[in-house]
């Protein structure tokens, strides 16, 4: 007769829980610090890659447009996450650096007449240089004063974008050549031999690569020694300096790198929109980047993807649902879908900060803890 199993008797065989839900234990720091340090994460990454590559075939041009804008915004949001989430320096001026990137792209393609592909590195270098010039001013002050200085930066940048007409086109705005590969316009699409790219498909694929590379660079920076220095500065800069962290370099590096990637995002946004205006790079845009960071998960680089997707998709969703929502007005004045989503984002930002400082990532952590410890509550 077989021995009884089950409660209260221990099982005779060591039944393993399925790999997916099992906690991964680490025996070395190296394994814990790995980029994707658990089976689940590796699986999720593969799933994401497959979904991302399948998206251009499954979605129409309008939704692909949302994805492209979300990917572009995610580059800026990830870089802001490095500065604000990882290094703890609240910046309300991110839109200014994104704007610089966009205007560099306009100058390179329209005034100089070069190919678009020069504008991305040029935008990174010039926006990074602007960050380098402003960093000593910004880093002389701490905390709330930094927030106020960067707030001033947004208004100053708007003023310069509007009035430096020879470079920015002033009130008339600026035009940007959209990028081409082998003669195919990446936004409008085109055919080359057997290869046919639909509208937005080419740009989507390019943005996927750029956002992926940005993610890897920033995440690797954040999980290494530099990132640990930044986290130490965020948690207490005085304590960090006492244990030997070079506080000024850590802040400076975060500021310059985040400005450079904001510039990259701006150049790509310009290349996609093909027309930019001086009043686009305002405080609202800066706050939207903050919403992406806070909503995704402050300090979690990749979570900014989720935030960016949400912030980009909501206006589009509201726009499509407008016939069902009588309180939304169609165009012009009143409560347009853009304004409704701005109100939502503002309230959401406050709600996230008050109730769940880690945003969607925090919700996911709670869900995961609930599922892995089920049926227990601890």
């Amino acid at each position: 007769m077989a021995a009884p199993t089950g409660f209260p008797f221990p099982p005779t065989t060591n039944r393993r829980r399925p790999r997916l839900a099992r906690s991964d234990f680490h025996t070395t720091w190296r394994s814990e610090l790995r980029l994707w340090n658990s089976t689940t994460k590796r699986g999720a990454v593969w799933l994401l890659v497959v979904l991302a590559l399948a998206a251009p075939m499954l979605l129409d041009a309008a939704w692909l447009r949302v994805l492209v804008v979300a990917l572009i915004a995610s580059v800026a949001a990830m870089s802001l996450n490095l500065l604000t989430g990882v290094a703890g320096q609240l910046s309300l001026g991110h839109a200014a650096f994104v704007g610089i990137g966009a205007y560099v792209a306009a100058y390179v393609t329209d005034t100089l007449g070069w190919s678009f592909w020069w504008s991305a590195p040029a935008a990174m270098i010039l926006a990074g240089a602007a960050g380098l010039v402003l960093a000593p001013i910004a880093l002389r002050v701490r905390g709330l004063y930094l927030a106020v200085v960067t707030l001033g930066l947004v208004f100053l940048a708007s003023h310069i974008f509007r009035n430096w007409e020879s470079v920015t086109g002033g009130v008339g705005g600026a035009r940007i050549e959209s990028p081409t590969i082998l003669g195919i316009d990446l936004v409008r699409g085109g055919t080359l031999g057997p290869l046919t790219l639909g509208q937005n498909q080419g740009y989507y694929l390019v943005m996927l690569v750029i956002a992926g590379v940005t993610y890897l660079l920033l995440r690797n920076l954040a999980r290494g020694r530099t990132g640990r220095d930044m986290v130490a500065v965020r948690d207490d800069d005085l304590a960090a300096s006492v244990v030997g962290v070079d506080v000024f370099s850590a802040k400076m590096l975060a500021f310059v790198i985040s400005s450079a990637f904001a510039g990259l995002s701006g150049a790509m946004l310009g290349g996609f929109l093909r027309f930019i205006n001086y009043d686009q790079w305002d405080l609202t845009l800066s706050v939207e980047y903050l919403v992406m960071v806070a909503l995704g998960g402050s300090g979690i680089i990749g979570a900014a993807f989720a935030g960016a997707l949400f912030v980009t998709a909501v206006p589009e969703l509201l726009d499509r649902a407008a016939p069902l929502l009588p309180w939304l007005s169609e165009a012009g004045g009143g409560l347009t879908p853009e304004r409704a989503s701005a109100i939502l984002f503002g309230l959401l930002l406050a709600a996230v900060v008050v109730t769940e400082p880690l945003g969607l990532y925090g919700v996911w952590l709670r869900l995961k803890r609930y599922l892995t410890t089920w049926p227990f509550t601890y």
């Binding site: 707030l151 509007r162 304590a239 903050l290 009143g334 701005a342 939502l344 503002g346 406050a350 900060v353």
Partner: protein, 297 residues
């Protein structure tokens, strides 16, 4: 000379408005150690409620300001109870981020209400475009009233903070909230009162922002944003600083508008306060009258 008299009166009037807004920031900062960006949205709301009561319902400016003050104070208290109080003890940055979200929502919501924002509006001051003679120079009567009101409010505020029991409690809480609570200061009522006071000041400022020769429009919110440099120039925790900073920013703005060469661009006087702020911060990182940050591990 006559040019300067009217410029000085304008500067003082604009400076009074900045001072009123700046005082709201400082009062909240001293009470809750928080930079309350939602103050901007509260000011805009106050201005438009004044417009609603005074112009659309034709009940007069005084009643308009009173109603706006009540509404703004209520909104400020709601922001305190839902955002600032739950964040007590969290990093100061958290309140700043949360309130800038509230501010964006409020500004956009006010800007989405067609009866208010169809065009630029005047809140309906009884002075209209009247002028009075000062040293033989005609200046807007409304400016004189704004200056007078500003001086009365600043005087009353300083007297309250320095001489009254509530002012003593307020200063004790600003010094150290826990010690204040330990010696029996009613912390919660005082904090509530401080946020209400900030709302009142915002409503008054909002009404003046919409008084001729200025017009109220959703972009008037930038008026309140420019009061932030005024606060920072003076020092975030100093009432004297708010007054000096506010008046200084008023002078800088009016004189830049009058004297700046065209090459500096359209509306350069709107960014001049920020430039002044950067200059002051490079010189003194805590502002002119602020207390330097004393930090220990």
């Amino acid at each position: 000379m006559s040019g300067h008299v009217s410029l000085i009166i304008s500067s003082l009037a604009v400076g009074s408005i900045y001072t009123l807004i700046a005082l709201g920031f400082v009062v909240v900062f001293r009470a809750s150690s928080a930079l309350n960006f939602a103050h901007v949205g509260v000011m805009l709301l106050g201005g438009y409620v004044t417009f609603q009561v005074s112009r659309l319902w034709e009940l007069g400016l005084l009643l308009g300001v009173l109603v706006a003050a009540a509404v703004s104070a209520a909104v400020a208290v709601v922001i305190y109870l839902t955002v600032a109080r739950p964040l007590t003890g969290r990093p100061v940055m958290a309140v700043a981020i949360a309130t800038i979200g509230v501010d964006m929502a409020m500004r956009t919501a006010v800007g989405s209400y067609p009866p208010w924002t169809g065009e630029s509006v005047e809140v309906g001051g009884p002075w209209g475009a009247d002028t009075s003679l000062v040293l033989g120079v005609p200046v807007y009567t409304s400016h004189l009233w704004i200056i007078a009101t500003g001086m009365v409010v600043v005087g009353a505020l300083v007297l309250t903070v320095e001489r009254s029991r509530w002012g003593l409690w307020f200063r004790a809480i600003a010094e150290d909230e826990e010690s204040a609570a330990a010696i029996g200061v009613p912390v919660r009522p005082v904090l509530l009162a401080a946020w209400m006071l900030a709302g009142l000041l915002a409503a008054l400022a909002g009404a003046f922002v919409g008084t001729f020769p200025r017009l109220l429009q959703p972009a008037s919110a930038e008026f309140a944003f420019r009061a932030i440099p005024a606060v920072v120039i003076g020092g975030l925790n100093s009432i004297t600083g708010a007054v000096v900073g506010g008046v200084l920013v008023g002078f800088v703005e009016v004189y830049t508008a009058a004297l700046a060469p065209g090459e500096l661009g359209v509306n350069v006087h709107h960014v001049a306060p920020y430039v002044l702020m950067l200059a002051v911060l490079l010189w003194r990182a805590e502002g002119l009258f602020g207390t330097p940050d004393v930090r220990r591990l």
